[in-house]
């Protein structure tokens, strides 16, 4: 049985899709079977970031409506053979996502894959709540600024109340992925510092992804940043986050930073 991860944030534009693709590719490069699922019906992007937009035939809504089989809708990545994409529909309405349909699809994906990573749409409406509903683990993507942090806090509240796990009284495993982090700006006070964000959200830190042109470059060529340039700073940060997802305990660092800064971040742990 695979693990279902939801990548969520509340706020839009913080890096959910980028992180879904990057973590998916990082996990798959280790030989594990990974499927990334786009839940953003009507505004799909994951296919672009994965570079699969010209190969989409069937999508999540087709599968839920019984118009296509799951195996027909899954797109295998050309670079990593254990990485698959289940695209969202760009034309359909998100009302077509039914709770029962989503549950069935997630259950069959769980049987076939080691990791099912669901890319949640922004917001707290139907699409977002359905994406998180069957998750075992949640990755909360947050930028170091106040509106993103407050929206993430809201999402954490929903994760603790609206998921199947929460309804069964089980604790929901949640991780914070801090993206677009610029240590120089945080030091100047233009951005929230890592400690401030952790103090407000009080969930464990999965990783800090530095603000970088490499991320933009990678999505423009249609590749997850962990496949486009594995040596870049954001890619290395995502690789480390993927290792933490597997259960490894690593000190959180920002790759490409000077040593002096490492010291401050070493051994960081959230409450």
């Amino acid at each position: 049985m695979g693990k279902v991860i939801v990548v969520t944030s509340g706020k839009g534009g913080v890096g959910k899709t980028t992180s879904t693709a990057a973590l998916g590719a990082a996990l798959a490069q280790n030989g594990e079977r990974v499927v990334v699922v786009d839940f953003d019906v009507g505004l799909r992007n994951l296919d672009l970031v994965m570079g699969a937009e010209r190969r989409v035939v069937y999508d999540l809504v087709n599968v839920i409506q019984g118009e296509a089989k799951l195996t027909q809708a899954l797109i295998r990545d050309k670079r990593v053979e254990t990485l698959y994409l289940l695209p969202a529909s760009q034309t359909r309405d998100k009302e077509n996502l039914t709770p029962e349909g989503v549950e069935k699809v997630i259950a069959s994906l769980k049987n076939a894959f080691d990791w099912v990573i669901c890319d949640s749409p922004a917001g707290i409406e139907r699409g977002a709540t359905l994406a998180m509903r069957h998750a075992d683990v949640a990755i909360v993507v947050t930028n170091p600024e106040v509106s993103s942090v407050r929206d993430s806090d809201r999402i954490i509240g929903l994760l603790d109340s609206k998921t199947v796990k929460a309804e069964n009284g089980e604790p929901m495993e949640k991780h914070l992925l801090l993206t677009r982090y610029d240590s120089a700006r945080a030091e100047r006070g233009d951005m929230l510092k890592v400690d401030d964000v952790l103090e407000i959200l009080s969930i464990p830190l999965l990783g800090i992804i530095p603000e970088s042109m490499d991320v933009l470059r990678a999505s423009n060529v249609g590749a997850p940043v962990t496949l486009a340039d594995g040596r870049s700073a954001p890619a290395m940060a995502y690789f480390e986050a993927a290792r933490r997802l597997r259960g490894e305990i690593l000190p959180v660092t920002i790759p490409g930073e000077k040593r002096g800064f490492f010291g401050k971040i070493f051994g960081r742990k959230a409450a």
Partner: protein, 244 residues
């Protein structure tokens, strides 16, 4: 026999609160009873099987008058479980026991609304037996209150071991204790308890209120921001001071 006696468990006494109707009679009682009869005739059985508390606060009464009223009500099938607001000299073993510390609850809908202003019973939460001191109930929340979450506890005190996030809301009938940063909105003493207080480890609240009197973040003393603070009500003014 002795064995049974020595091993028997102690009698258990527990406090419990119930909802009762508080009926407020007015002098002269004869006229008031006529109005009550009018209400009862429009909606037979309104008082049947309901626990009723008689609120005689502020009435100049003789003991005989009160006893007469209770028996008059008894003849109308209105059974009085207790009397609120009466001097202890008024009450005796032949009258229902005194009730104290009633807390207001929401109004009860009366079957017919016209001409019934005077007999309008207000619902009231009544503590069980008067001689027992009433303990305010409380709850402890051991996780942070997140943005968008709303915690309502009109029964008493709320203790939160964690933070109250910006955009979160805590409403308590009693005091509110936050062992963490208070960034959201908190309202203490909402059931009319002006002695309720708010305590927090770190004050960054958006709004605080006690018994309906409130302060927004803008009106709060800037020097107290980020500090451990207690907040209370003095008359109609919200006071706050740092906890050293």
């Amino acid at each position: 026999m002795n064995d049974v006696l020595t091993q028997s468990r102690p009698i258990r006494l527990k406090g419990r609160s119930f909802l009762a109707l508080a009926l407020t009679p007015e002098l002269p009682f004869d006229d008031w009873l006529v109005q009550l009869d009018a209400l009862a005739s429009r909606s037979a059985g309104f008082f049947l099987r309901r626990p009723i508390v008689l609120d005689v606060q502020g009435l100049e009464l003789e003991r005989a008058q009160l006893r007469d009223l209770v028996s008059q009500l008894g003849m109308r099938n209105v059974r009085i479980m207790g009397i609120e607001g009466a001097r202890s000299s008024l009450l005796g073993p032949d009258l229902p026991p005194a009730m104290a510390d009633g807390r207001p609850a929401s109004d009860v809908e009366i079957p017919a609304t016209d001409e019934t202003q005077k007999t309008a019973p207000a619902e009231s939460v009544v503590s069980p037996a008067a001689p027992l001191p009433r303990a305010m109930s409380s709850i402890v929340i051991s996780q942070p209150v997140r943005s968008g979450q709303s915690l309502l506890y009109p029964e008493g005190d709320v203790t939160i071991v964690g933070s109250v996030a910006s955009g979160a809301e805590v409403v308590a009938g009693g005091s509110i204790h936050v062992y963490g940063a208070l960034r959201g909105r908190v309202m203490a003493g909402t059931m009319g308890n002006s002695s309720a207080r708010i305590f927090c480890r770190k004050l960054e609240a958006e709004l605080i209120a006690i018994d309906g009197f409130y302060l927004t973040a803008e009106d709060m003393e800037p020097a107290l921001r980020g500090k451990a603070v207690q907040i209370w009500l003095e008359g109609e003014t919200i006071k706050a001071e740092a906890l050293s």
